[in-house]
């Protein structure tokens, strides 16, 4: 118990110090981050959506309101192109892309968002790497709203990403310390003695 309290105090101390130092006014001018590839109005292409909308029976008036009028009345008034949209809320695209149609999710988000870390739900930052397994087991199908089946294997089994997603840097040298810290954590994924022996017996170099 003492050790837990000591560790927790240590963590809080580190956390508090870093928060005070870095959370102050060093970083001014906060900006709304969406991680969009382009501005929203440039992302949407009517040409690419014509066929899907016909199939899904989406009408022009589902998105556009012709009740919107320009400020200046009369035939010489400037058009109100952007205001034709009935709603300008971010959910407009998501109404279809995350709901009405069963789009295979591979890169569904990447169609419009370049940096997925910006659009992660808030709860995905709450120590989520350690907790996501247990939370997802409660309601796995709710994860499939945004995630595809290969999202599990792309982190847990493959290596073709920019980020080092599972293990820390220098893991080849530190894994013995980590394994002895929590031996059960290794066996979640590494369920064959061959995995250890490949390196420790020199089978893999």
């Amino acid at each position: 118990m003492k050790t837990i309290l000591k560790n927790f105090s240590f963590g809080c101390l580190l956390f508090g110090t870093a928060s005070i130092v870095l959370g102050s006014s060093i970083f001014a001018e906060p900006a709304k981050q969406t991680g969009l590839l382009k501005p929203r109005k440039e992302l949407f292409s009517h040409a690419n959506h014509t066929k899907p909308f016909e199939k899904l029976n989406v009408q022009c008036t589902d998105c556009h309101s012709f009740a919107v009028k320009p400020k200046e009345p009369g035939p010489t008034a400037l058009p109100v192109k952007e205001r034709y949209l009935q709603r300008t809320v971010p959910g407009l695209c998501h109404d279809c892309h995350l709901g009405k149609i069963s789009v295979p999710l591979r890169r569904n988000c990447l169609l419009c968002h370049s940096n997925l870390s910006v659009i992660k739900p808030k709860d995905h930052f709450n120590s989520f790497r350690l907790r996501h397994g247990k939370l997802s087991q409660m309601d796995r199908d709710s994860c499939t709203r945004c995630h595809s089946p290969q999202d599990c294997t792309s982190c847990h089994a493959k290596q073709n990403t920019l980020a080092q997603l599972v293990h820390r840097p220098n893991f080849r040298l530190t894994h013995s310390i980590q394994a002895r810290s929590d031996p059960q954590s290794c066996t979640f994924c590494h369920k064959s003695s061959g995995f250890c022996l490949d390196c420790h017996k020199g089978r893999r170099r």
């Binding site: 963590g11 580190l14 870095l22 169609l111 709450n126 409660m138 530190t174 066996t187 994924c189 170099r205």
Partner: protein, 405 residues
């Protein structure tokens, strides 16, 4: 970037990746591994989904091949989900798939039948062969059958289920195990500090004993602050082959008990702080052992840049290390991004090794022909390490992917 193509509402999404690299091993021999990944997700007009994710690799010089089917199944829906929960479709899933019921985390070669009677409740029936995440095997010696029911009730999600597991490896006698598992997750916006409670336990019905458990209590008093504590008791199934939990067996002769805590603070939308601590305890042949981990990370997003400094500390019977790290990501354009990561670890091991290890890793993800071939993606990845074993250890990998949305 192209929008998703629809043809009579049949949808297809696929990605093919070929990668290769070269490195020099500690005997000064060159190695040249090549990897191939292909995943395909097709949904036809009737909503039947075909999905597979496979890989193959070869060490070109030794000509040693490996084939892996990570997942591959058909999903045949017999309902179209609910307006507010379109992903909750009653369906039959047949083939190789992940099984994550109870405390299982296995590959299942068999069938799962999720049935929803409402968007708030249903049951998942499952059965087939499971072989502990070994993607290159189809093995029917180990089998698992069961059912799990779930329902939202009194503001919480309740789950309960039964698992029958059996194993038969000649010439050993057949073994079987019956488990019951139950879990609950409750959260409330009305209670001060907005708590979230999750508890989960598994009992071995054959021995009438409490087998494994997990509990978490976390609080979200403001959008910018969260903190919580976790507890777990974990151990491998007695039915697993000894080979399948070697890492556990060589260190521990008892369940591993872990207590942890986390706290996050988001003073601004683009700035996040997170800290985790964990303490584990178990019995080893040498006596009682403890392990401690602490990690602090800061994530700062600004314009097209992401900066993530971090600090990790791990201490166990095997030694202790401190590791500060810094990661920088920059979205160069809509089709290219750069990621650079550096870390220094100060390591003291039980066998008197004291070392400072350096790790550098950089990747450049880009589309070489964004206008002529927008679906062709390339990732160049380089990694350099320096430590007491290798003065310089470097590797370079190039990935070429073709995306069909």
């Amino acid at each position: 970037m192209c929008a998703t193509e629809l043809s009579a509402q049949a949808l297809i999404s696929s990605e093919v990746t070929l990668s290769g690299g070269v490195y020099q091993d500690y005997t000064a021999k060159f190695r040249a591994p090549v990897f191939f990944y292909w995943n395909l997700n097709h949904t036809n007009a009737a909503g039947v989904e075909t999905y597979f994710d496979l890989g193959a690799n070869n060490n070109l010089i030794e000509n040693r091949w490996g084939f892996y089917l990570y997942q591959g199944y058909f999903s045949i829906p017999f309902s179209q989900g609910f307006e507010n929960a379109p992903s909750k479709k009653s369906r039959i899933q047949l083939g190789r798939q992940l099984l994550t019921e109870g405390f299982e985390m296995d590959i299942l070669d068999g069938v799962q039948v999720p049935i929803y009677w409402s968007e708030n409740g249903g049951v998942n029936l499952h059965g087939g062969a499971s072989y502990f995440m070994q993607e290159d095997l189809v093995d029917t010696h180990s089998q698992v059958y069961g059912a799990t029911a779930h329902q939202k009730f009194l503001g919480a999600i309740w789950k309960g289920g039964y698992l029958h597991k059996k194993r038969h490896f000649e010439p050993r006698p057949s073994l079987s195990e019956n488990n019951a598992h139950a879990s609950v997750m409750w959260s409330s916006e009305r209670v001060p500090f907005h708590p979230l409670l999750q508890a989960k336990a598994q009992w071995n019905l054959s021995t009438r004993s409490y087998d494994q458990g997990y509990a978490e209590l976390s609080f979200y008093p403001r959008d910018s602050v969260s903190f919580g504590a976790t507890y777990s008791k974990r151990q491998p199934s007695s039915l697993n082959t000894i080979d399948s939990y070697l890492v556990f067996r060589i260190f521990s002769i008892s369940p591993v008990y872990t207590a942890g805590g986390f706290i996050t603070f988001t003073p601004r939308e683009e700035l996040r702080f997170a800290a985790n601590v964990r303490h584990s305890t178990y019995n080893s042949p040498a006596g009682n052992e403890d392990g401690d981990e602490q990690e602090l990370t800061v994530s700062w997003y600004r314009n097209r840049s992401t900066v993530i400094p971090g600090l990790a500390h791990v201490k166990s019977y095997g030694g202790e290390f401190w590791e500060p790290s810094l990661t920088y990501r920059f979205d160069i354009s809509s089709t290219a991004s750069l990621r650079v990561q550096g870390a220094i670890a100060d390591i003291k091991k039980i066998n008197n090794i004291k070392s400072t290890a350096y790790s550098g890793r950089a990747g450049w993800d880009f589309r070489p022909f964004p206008s002529k071939a927008p679906r062709l993606s390339t990732l160049l990845l380089g990694e350099v390490e320096s430590n007491h074993i290798f003065k310089i250890d470097g590797r370079f990998i190039a990935f070429v992917s073709y995306l069909l949305y």
